[in-house]
Amino acid sequence: MRTITLEIDEKKVKAEEGMTILQAAKSVGIDIPTLCYHEKLEPYGACRLCMVEITKNKRSRLVTSCCYPVEEGLIVKTDTEKVNKIRKTIIELLLPLAPTGPIMTLGAKYGLCEYIKKTEVEGEWKVKGFRFPTEQNDCTLCGLCVRYCAEIKKENAVGFIGRGVDRHIAILPEKGGICIFCRECYNLCDGGKFPHEAEAF
């Protein structure tokens, strides 16, 4: 396997050919936020939180680090103003949809919400304000459940229905029986919709 040298946040990073920027960054402890990424699954590139700015042949552009393969001499910046604006706005769009722990934690990083400690062990999340209010439905459509079921379990019991703003997830009625016993995707769900949905089913 060929070793590729690239630069991430002014750090020289050695990576193996075929790795993604995200994997290379993780290997040296650079944190890039993600939502739809899972190391066992094929890169999906839908949440766009892992966007980074790359410079190649003196031209820079924005790419999703979970999909972009490392290249020799690539210059990557994970923390630019543009990148942060996109991440912050995406979290702002997600917060009213699914105000749950993982998304709140991301929000806290960009100053959108805070954790108020009540006691040493107890506390609660507070959102500083919803700039893009919408109906809460506990689902960010990250597709982790759908892809886990298809790629790992090979059952395809969960799928997407509808297009665009009408898109949502649903369990195939014929396959619902499997879900009662499997429940492996419950832990993957960031928005908290899935366990709820499946129990109701």
Partner: protein, 640 residues
């Protein structure tokens, strides 16, 4: 049918076809494109067939049903060769006159000719009509001469000679070199150099390689790919086989949307005919090159026109884009090198091979060569498909070809490039159109839609309309596009509904930036263009909606009221009779008034009030003046 095995076979076939045709024999061509079909060209055809039998003219005249001529505004179009007499808006009732006067006696029927609206002059020949005269119809021109269901018609016009030249005289590298030299750029919107794409696919190490025709045209108001596919499918096929040869591909797909039944039908026939003659299949024209092609019918999703989504759709998956940091040209269909080009791009290829790159380069601008077909629609006198050399100004297209704005109204803006193009204001009317110039002013070439708008168009409403379309057509995979467009639409609805605050413009601007930079595919990447461009050039309209609750173009329903001017009202009762909610009070001879609470702002009163009175007014940003007292509303005879 004997398969053709060499270039001389093709030449002999062409001579044989021509020998059976008498160029002096009269031929009536009837446009049977989708536009003319909507104007009942089918009925005109039946009338012609019947009447030719009745008048026993079968030996004197041929009838040929052609593809779209482009001048759809005036369909159905009949052109009689060899004289090229052009009759417009022909109805079945006119058929008798055409046959008995023009065909039998050589007389011209004045009432069916094109009348120049400016001078009143009648024009006999199709090519002299200003709409056609100012065009350069290289790709689209043959549409009007051939029956798309007949390969012989295409061969008679030197069809498949470029294929024979490419396969038998040139190496694949030479073909690519020629296309590269011609600087042909992708007509689907991206404008990527076609030759370079071919080369990447050719050099990609994996096999097999695929070639794809992208005919998933989904823009509202655009139909040039459709008309080309319906009207001249062989030109696309020929280009495709040449490309496949250059790339080293032996299998291709034509992705046509299911909503284009005529395109599917004509392409199916074309493939069958080409197979019979040996332009497809094994050992094409004796060159040893094999190629087959299949039609894939799309299920009508706008996003499927995006290359990675289209590839997914052909693979049998949902048509959703994938991040493509490795180009489709290297890893596309079933992860194999795939070259995907738009219909018009493929149709340009035979022209380049036949006439050479230098000839092709002689047309166009520095960065964009050749011609481009545009679908000219909206508030313009001559709507239809126009093909012009790159670099023609927007003004020439709108005024010289399009005949200007109807009713002498003022031009306001033109939206180019389909729903995700930007709106270009009057100050850029002299812009020479090519890929780069359009991008500079915040719009794009796109697939070539052009929507002309006049002073009666509200630019905020236009931005809202296109955002609504795109929010509907977004696949919903990535968050910026799905959620961003959802909120952009909400904000725009608030603005046109008079419920927005000044903060909303800031929120809107933030979203446009994130949707543009953050989205996964080009749909999201270009979706904010209508909003960005209208905010840039027509910001005053946004501000009027927000600060003054006023719609300057008097379009947005929530911000306008209808009011009857008591001085102008002649108390005729027309609006009272037609108001669907009974909101207008008054009788004959008693001046009418509108009850604003009952009014649903449908605009019926405005439409029915006779032009000579024009008593119904639209007001915006101000309350309705108080009703005049009943005693002064009575119209006495003296006052009239």
């Amino acid at each position: 049918m004997k398969k053709l095995k060499s270039s001389s076979d093709l030449e002999n076939l062409r001579k044989e076809i021509l020998s059976k045709r008498d160029p002096k024999k009269m031929c009536i061509t009837l446009c049977s494109g989708t536009g003319c079909r909507a104007y009942a060209s089918e009925k005109v055809n039946i009338a012609f067939q019947d009447e030719i039998k009745k008048q026993k003219l079968g030996k004197e005249v041929d009838i040929r049903r052609t593809g779209c001529h482009g001048f759809c505004e005036k369909g159905p179009i009949v052109v009689i060769y060899p004289e090229e007499i052009c009759y417009l808006q022909v109805k079945p009732e006119d058929v008798f006159d055409i046959l008995s006067q023009t065909i039998k006696e050589g007389k011209i029927i004045e009432r069916l000719l094109y009348t120049n609206p400016g001078t009143g002059e009648k024009i006999i020949h199709e090519s002299e009509i200003p709409f056609y005269k100012n065009q350069k119809r290289l790709v689209f021109g043959n549409n009007r001469k051939i029956d798309p269901k007949s390969i012989d018609d295409y061969i008679a016009l030197n069809g498949y000679t470029a294929l024979s030249k490419a396969l038998l005289e040139l190496t694949p590298e030479q073909v690519i070199e020629e296309v590269k030299k011609a600087n042909l750029r992708g007509r689907g919107g991206g404008g990527f150099p076609t030759g370079r794409k071919w080369e990447t696919t050719r050099n990609a190490p994996a096999a097999p390689k695929y070639v794809i025709v992208n005919c998933d045209e989904g823009d509202p108001g655009a139909y040039m790919d459709r008309s080309l596919m319906e009207g001249n499918p062989h030109s696309v096929l020929e280009g495709l086989v040449i490309g496949a040869y250059a790339i080293g591909s032996h299998e291709g797909f034509i992705y046509v949307r299911q909503e284009y039944p005529l395109a599917v039908e004509n392409t199916e026939i074309a493939i069958k005919q080409a197979e019979e003659y040996g332009f497809l299949g094994e050992d094409i024209l004796g060159s040893g090159f094999n190629f087959k092609v299949k039609i894939h019918r799309g299920a009508g999703a706008f996003v499927s026109g995006e290359s990675s989504a289209l590839v997914s759709a052909i693979e049998g998956k949902v048509g959703e884009p994938k991040p493509k940091y490795i180009h489709t040209a290297v890893k596309g269909l079933w992860n194999k090198p795939t070259c995907l080009n738009n219909v018009e791009t493929w149709a340009n290829v035979p022209l380049i091979i036949n006439n050479g790159a230098d000839w092709y380069r002689s047309m166009g601008t520095e960065g964009s060569k050749g011609t481009k077909i545009f679908s000219l629609v909206g508030k313009v006198n001559n709507t239809g498909l126009v093909e012009v050399p790159m670099g023609m100004t927007l003004r020439s297209i709108i005024y010289d070809i399009g005949g200007g704005i109807p009713n002498g109204k003022k031009f306001k803006a033109i939206q180019t490039g389909g729903p995700s193009g930007g709106c270009i204001p009057e100050q850029f009317l002299d812009l020479p159109i090519d890929f780069d110039e359009l991008t500079k002013v915040g719009s794009m070439m796109g697939s070539g839609g052009m929507i002309v708008m006049d002073g009666d168009t509200c630019m905020v409403d236009i931005a809202r309309y296109f955002t609504n379309f795109l929010a509907d057509e977004s696949c919903g995979k990535c968050i910026p596009c799905r959620e961003g467009l959802r909120h952009m639409l909400k904000i725009l609805n608030n603005i046109t509904g008079g419920k927005a605050t000044e903060e909303d413009i800031k929120r809107l601007e933030d979203l446009t930036e994130v949707v543009r930079d953050g989205s996964l595919c080009a749909l999201g990447g270009t979706a904010p263009n209508p909003v960005i461009s209208t905010l840039k050039y027509f910001r005053d309209e946004y501000e009027a909606h927000i600060k003054e609750k006023r719609c300057p173009a008097l379009v947005c329903k929530e911000l306008i009221i209808y009011y009857i001017d008591p001085e102008k009202c002649q108390a005729c009762g027309l609006c009272v009779k037609n108001c669907p909610t009974g909101a207008i009070y008054g009788k004959k001879k008693i001046v009418h008034i509108i009850n604003q609470e009952k009014c649903i702002k449908c605009g019926t009163c405005f439409d029915v009030c006779p032009d000579k009175f024009s008593a119904v007014l639209r007001l915006s940003g101000e309350p309705a003046p108080p009703d005049v007292p009943r005693e002064t509303r009575i119209k006495s005879k003296e006052r009239r």
